[in-house]
């Protein structure tokens, strides 16, 4: 038995100082041992971050207060430790990496100095030794040109590089415990893969205990030794990785796993001869950035993109962040004007007609955005939001509202939701409302730009199911944009793979996602975390293939 590094016992965290306040964390117990990675999973808001912040002693003062239980680090109680002692322990004994690499570093201090601060605060080393040690650490996290990066400001580094800096900063004093709170969620799959490997390697070298927080089951399968599942502040289930994935004991865990879409494309639907409703021909978009000094920068965000979408079908656009997916979507919906190329909507060219002439065509193509929290005006009732489109096209207010009720029911919300405001709904519910709004105009084409990316897997599954159902019922065509290959595999008939604004591969989903021709597509698929595991069926993919073969 190796040493227990972190021992959380029956921890309770409540809101406010008074004991009667609602409990955010309600009696959880977790142990992390040396050289072990414990993955803490659970839906959004389940208390994962609060648990980690409690450990670090970084809970917001006065609002969240640990009211019971204990948190021990190598036998030392943390909940009652003084601020001074906690400061000493941080970085030396326990360190933390946060989710957002973009904002976790101070933008106005060179990254080298930010790491240096740790050494200055906790050691008496002279400047030279410190620098040597930092450069050494930066090499360990496999940063290139360490001298240059040492003196760089964060904004000059990519997201992956920043996250490496964070890791270097966390590990420079070889702490016993590393807490990583969704460290890869904001990164591309390829970068994610690198970071995960890095953490695992470093852990092996330094013998660190890792508490890894994520909601991505793929990541769990990739990295965890043991898994702890949280829900609404309670611990649902813990156990070794294999056990939890193969034989989850709790219903909740089963549901969670079952909701994870499979990378194996669903069985293809029949080819149809339905009419083409949407066509993009050589669509290009160049962003011109004006600069005060020097020449402006030009970004070719979409480069001669051609695609076709038939009635009743779903076309997926996949690709890494920045590959131009959203740009294409926006050009097609004419939220931005394409630089060149054409868009034909139901046979009509709409790429270069004026906004006024465009007006009647708008209703044929509708869009659902990624962020369910910002795509509904918080000051307008749900009903008014949905009815806005029909009213614009001449439907009487009362009729439009009646239609809004019907639509809400269609997307699985009570009809009386019309008079409520968006903030009264969860993320998944809001996304349904956004879909209802898009449907209100009876469009031929629905563009979904990362429409499920922000949602928990279970909710994601529901929304995908809803889209599928609606497509069956109304026969609309869907242009589905996602960076999640799992999602693409489950919903798309055809897939377009984009890189640097260009289409690199295109074809039926089953074809592209199982037998990619292009190296880029292959790399993408390779990097997808947990691709060897078929979560929904509680078995590794290989077994499934073997079984069905």
């Amino acid at each position: 038995m190796t040493n227990t590094i972190l021992d959380i016992n029956n921890l309770v965290v409540s809101v406010g100082k008074k004991p009667g306040g609602p409990k955010i964390i309600d009696g959880i117990s977790i142990q992390v041992r040396e050289r072990e990675t414990l993955c803490l999973v659970g839906e959004s808001g389940s208390g994962k971050s609060v648990t980690s912040l409690t450990t670090m002693g970084l809970l917001p003062k006065g609002t969240l207060v640990p009211t019971g239980g204990s948190v021990k680090l190598v036998g030392e109680e943390l909940l009652t430790a003084t601020d001074r002692r906690l400061r000493q322990l941080r970085a030396t004994q326990m360190a933390m990496i946060f989710q957002e690499p973009m904002t976790a570093l101070n933008p106005v201090v060179p990254v080298g100095r930010q790491i240096d601060e740790v050494l200055r605060a906790h050691t008496n080393l002279d400047a030279k030794t410190r620098k040597k040690r930092i450069l050494d650490m930066m090499e360990q996290v496999r940063l290139p040109q360490v001298e240059r990066i040492f003196a760089s400001y964060p904004h000059r580094l990519s997201g992956g590089q920043r996250q490496r800096i964070m890791i270097a900063m966390a590990l420079v004093l070889e702490p016993k415990l590393l807490i990583a709170d969704e460290p890869t969620t904001a990164l591309d799959v390829t970068t994610q893969k690198q970071i995960l490997t890095l953490i695992r390697d470093l852990q092996r070298d330094h013998g660190t205990a890792v508490l890894f927080i994520t909601h991505d089951m793929g990541v769990v399968a990739e990295i965890a030794d043991r898994v702890a599942v949280m829900r609404q502040g309670r611990l649902v289930e813990t156990g070794p990785l294999e056990t939890v994935l193969r034989n989850p004991t709790m219903e909740y865990t089963r549901n969670l796993l079952a909701s994870v879409p499979s990378l194996v494309p669903r069985s293809p639907r029949e080819e149809t001869r339905e009419p083409v409703v949407l066509e993009a021909n050589d669509l290009s978009k160049v962003y011109k950035e004006r600069a005060f000094f020097g020449k402006g920068r030009e970004v070719v965000a979409a480069d001669k993109v051609t695609l076709t979408l038939r009635k009743g079908r779903t076309l997926g656009i996949v690709g890494e962040s920045g590959s131009g997916k959203s740009t294409v979507a926006r050009c097609i919906v004419r939220l931005i004007d394409p630089t060149s190329g054409g868009v034909r909507l139901a046979g009509r060219e709409i790429a270069d007609i004026s906004r006024r002439l465009l007006q009647p065509h708008r209703q044929k193509i509708q869009i659902v955005f990624q962020d369910p929290y910002r795509s509904l005006n918080p000051r307008v009732t749900v009903g008014e939001s949905i009815a806005e489109g029909p009213i614009n096209y001449g439907v009487a207010h009362t009729d439009a509202m009646k239609r809004a009720r019907e639509l809400l029911e269609l997307v699985g919300l009570p009809a009386d939701a019309v008079s409520r405001y968006p903030h009264q709904f969860s993320g998944g519910q809001r996304q349904r409302i956004a879909i209802a709004r898009a449907l209100a105009l009876d469009p031929d084409v629905l563009v979904a730009d990362e429409a499920v990316s922000a949602l928990d897997v279970s909710v994601q599954a529901q929304v995908l199911e809803l889209l599928d159902e609606i497509q069956k019922r109304l026969g609309i065509a869907i242009l589905f944009i996602t960076h999640d290959l799992r999602v693409a595999a489950q919903i798309c008939d055809e897939v377009v793979v984009m890189q640097h604004g260009r289409v690199v591969e295109q074809g039926p989903a089953a074809e592209v996602l199982t037998h990619p021709k292009e190296a880029y597509t292959k790399a993408l698929l390779d990097a997808a975390p947990g691709r060897d595991w078929d979560f929904a069926n509680f078995r590794p993919v290989a077994e499934g293939v073997g079984a069905s073969a």
């Binding site: 970084l58 400061r87 946060f98 976790a104 101070n106 201090v109 605060a121 964070m166």
Partner: protein
């Protein structure tokens, strides 16, 4: 530059299209209409507006601000005589305000929600609510008349030694700083509160460095941009304050020069002054833009 153009045109039109007759002011009593007419002609006020404007702009472009209608002195010289006091007050006010207000704001943000925070904020709101001339009189009454620590009024150039300069500038500076301190302290607090919610502050804390370092090295530096912005936009406020302060403490600065010029319809002086203050404003804000790039490596122009 277009800004200055707008200002120039605006001021010119404002002055010429509103009533007022410098000739009458010049001539004084028993000015017959004929005499007024002759004076106007000799001042060039009878030319068509467009000619006057072109003449003025043309001179301006050659660095000539014209001649005062009233005192017959070159405007450049009049302004030159008056610049030092105003700049002195403005600078000392900004320095004092920053020295006092920034720590206040930082402390208030750090102790957010406590009585210290409320006290500092209350004080700064108070600073907003008292007219600067009232503050001025009270200061004079206490420190110059009752205690006799400093002279009541006037200005001594710093070339006469720091002592005389300082004792005359300290009261106006304090009076004027009042509102400025209030403004900067509030802004500092708000900016600090924003920054304190940022991820990198949490990161800094997670490193185990002490709170002072967190505040100064991480938070304040990032809060500096909005604070500096407010110093820049507050500059207009400062100019207003300078005008009043110059009256209360009888400081021969450009603020009073302008007020006097407005009252006397001394067009060349008003035009030059408003143009000059606008120019200062533009320059100050340019400097502030430069300061941004120094403070925040992300900002590039």
């Amino acid at each position: 530059m277009p800004v200055m153009g707008v200002v120039a045109l605006f001021v010119f039109l404002l002055l010429r299209l509103t009533p007022g007759d410098p000739a009458a002011i010049l001539a004084g009593d028993n000015a017959t209409p004929e005499r007024l007419e002759r004076i106007r002609t000799s001042l060039g006020l009878n030319e068509p507006l467009i000619v006057q404007f072109v003449t003025w702009v043309n001179k301006l472009l050659h660095g000539d601000l014209g001649t005062s209608l009233i005192s017959n002195l070159p405007v450049m010289k009049m302004i030159g005589q008056r610049v030092e006091p105003s700049i002195s007050i403005a600078l000392s006010t900004i320095i004092l305000a920053v020295i006092v207000a920034v720590p206040l704001g930082v402390i208030a943000a750090w102790k957010h929600g406590t009585w210290i925070d409320r006290f500092v904020m209350g004080l700064s709101v108070l600073g907003f609510s008292v007219p600067v001339f009232v503050v001025g009189y009270v200061l004079i009454e206490i420190f110059a008349i009752d205690l006799r620590w400093v002279p009541v009024q006037g200005f001594k150039s710093i070339s006469n030694g720091f002592g005389p300069f300082f004792e005359r500038i300290i009261l106006p500076t304090c009076a004027l700083s009042f509102i400025y301190i209030a403004l900067i302290a509030r802004m500092t607090r708000a900016a600090m509160l924003d920054v304190l919610g940022e991820d990198y502050v949490r990161t800094a804390r997670a490193k185990g460095i002490n709170e002072v370092a967190v505040m100064m090295r991480h938070a304040l530096r990032n809060a500096a941009v909005p604070v500096i912005t407010v110093i820049g936009t507050g500059f207009a406020l400062l100019i207003s304050g300078v005008v009043v302060t110059e009256s209360v403490f009888n400081i021969p600065g450009i603020g009073r020069l302008t007020v006097d010029a407005v009252l006397a319809r001394d067009y060349p002086v008003i035009q030059a002054m408003i143009l000059l203050t606008s120019l200062i404003y533009v320059v100050v804000n340019l400097l502030i833009d430069v300061a941004y790039t120094l403070l925040d490596p992300r900002i590039r122009y």
